[in-house]
Point group: C2
Chain length 150, copies 2
């Protein structure tokens, strides 16, 4: 057995309900669904996080997630909304370190929701936003340069 | 003024902090951030939901979100995790009906989290998962056929 549960499902060592598969990614049903029909779209390769996810693989995860969102609405699940969610890093609530995009069917008043820090009510000023924006744009230049070099 | 706040930012009628822009999409800072540095990646066209989002535009939203996630980690925001989140439909907590991908910087114990329905603790049986999976695959065939016809 592999340490990664998703790799074990992909290799057939662990039971899983596969709803979609192509050369790049596979979609399986979450065994602890937020609502019935909760899907995980995973790359076929063991890719732990966003930093090591090839951009084209990321694009395909989203494209498949979008198709599955439409399928959930059309299927017997009959949800009226869908959340796409990806957790990157322990601080972001990532549990399995094989990157995965959640496709979560949603219903009115289904009991799923967010809790926020009390700080959430304090809105930033335009100056604060602009300062963060400036630093982000600087960091993005570095990220884009790194991408060009790869 | 347009009814859509994002369209007003894109046309310059409303102030916004733009951190990235290309021919397909634009990234702006959320004015009510879950954590400082919270970004929204939006299509340049007014596209209300996933059903009307061209797949290539969706792919670009994700690719830009991934780049910005790396930028957040590198920048002065210095987060240790990132969430990507998209709400499609009112039941899924969509607030602005110009589809947008949240890129949320995360920190250990930052106070952001989930609430679940009590039903969340009840795990489905393998048979229940397989039945949902069967119906989902049937619906996916229809979605893929529609996509081929477009």
């Amino acid at each position: 057995m592999d340490k990664c549960p998703f790799c074990n499902i992909l290799s057939g060592k662990l039971e899983g309900t596969i709803v979609y598969q192509d050369e790049i990614c596979t979609a399986i049903l979450d065994i602890q669904p937020i609502n019935p029909g909760h899907i995980l779209v995973i790359p076929n390769q063991h890719i732990p996080d966003l930093a090591s996810l090839p951009p084209d693989t990321g694009k395909q995860l989203f494209a498949v997630g979008q198709k599955l969102a439409a399928s959930l609405r059309l299927s017997s699940v009959q949800c009226t909304g869908v959340n796409l969610f990806l957790a990157d890093g322990k601080a972001a609530m990532q549990d399995v370190f094989h990157t995965h995009l959640h496709v979560i069917p949603r219903f009115e008043e289904d009991g799923f929701g967010f809790t926020f820090s009390p700080r959430y009510a304090e809105l930033p000023t335009r100056d604060e936003l602009e300062e963060i924006g400036f630093h982000l744009k600087e960091a993005l230049k570095i990220v884009q340069k790194q991408e060009e070099q790869n």
